[in-house]
Symmetry: C2
Subunit: 105 residues, 2 copies
């Protein structure tokens, strides 16, 4: 499989696909096409998340400490469990492809 291929022509919502994993780890491809978190929405996850931006561009916002990160291809970070975060922006004219690995705290 190639992460840059097999993306639907229409993408009314973000595409989330499980690629591999077991009871303790989940590896997913996420494709965003201008999608971003709803106004005022913050993720607050029970698992740690390692995320890699494979293609495209995005802005992440994280709380405690407050940070805004502009992500380019190759950028990656680990978001600790329960660290609140949101996707402020993804490139509106280009598919933004993420690889995310969720793992237990």
């Amino acid at each position: 499989m190639n992460l840059r291929q097999d993306i639907p022509a229409m993408l009314p919502e973000e595409l989330i696909q499980a690629l591999a994993g077991n009871a303790w780890v989940r590896i997913e491809r996420i494709v965003s096409r201008g999608h971003h978190s709803p106004e005022g929405f913050w993720y607050d996850q029970a698992e740690h998340e390692f995320v890699l931006l494979v293609q495209g561009a995005a802005e992440l916002e994280l709380a405690a400490p407050d940070e805004r990160l502009r992500l380019e291809p190759g950028d990656c970070l680990t978001i600790a469990a329960h660290r609140r975060h949101r996707v402020n922006w993804t490139h509106p004219e280009q598919d933004t492809i993420w690889l995310a690995v969720f793992f237990a705290q």
Copy 2:
């Protein structure tokens, strides 16, 4: 961190760096510069390995069933625990960057 950056000028051996993980999962960056598995060497790992080729080019060989896979950026696969495999070739003039996620069987 950007997976394409902070690569040493000299790379006598493959670079392997732990990025994140816990007792059940290990996320690593691997950088190859023409490196390949020694003649006759096969990996036989106790863990599953999800691997993504981020940059560069490589040929993987897998056993049972026997396969040779030419990998380009964005290509990914999961190598099941104890499936024998080796890296036949990586691009000699370009850094090949892998993201690998090892997780328990």
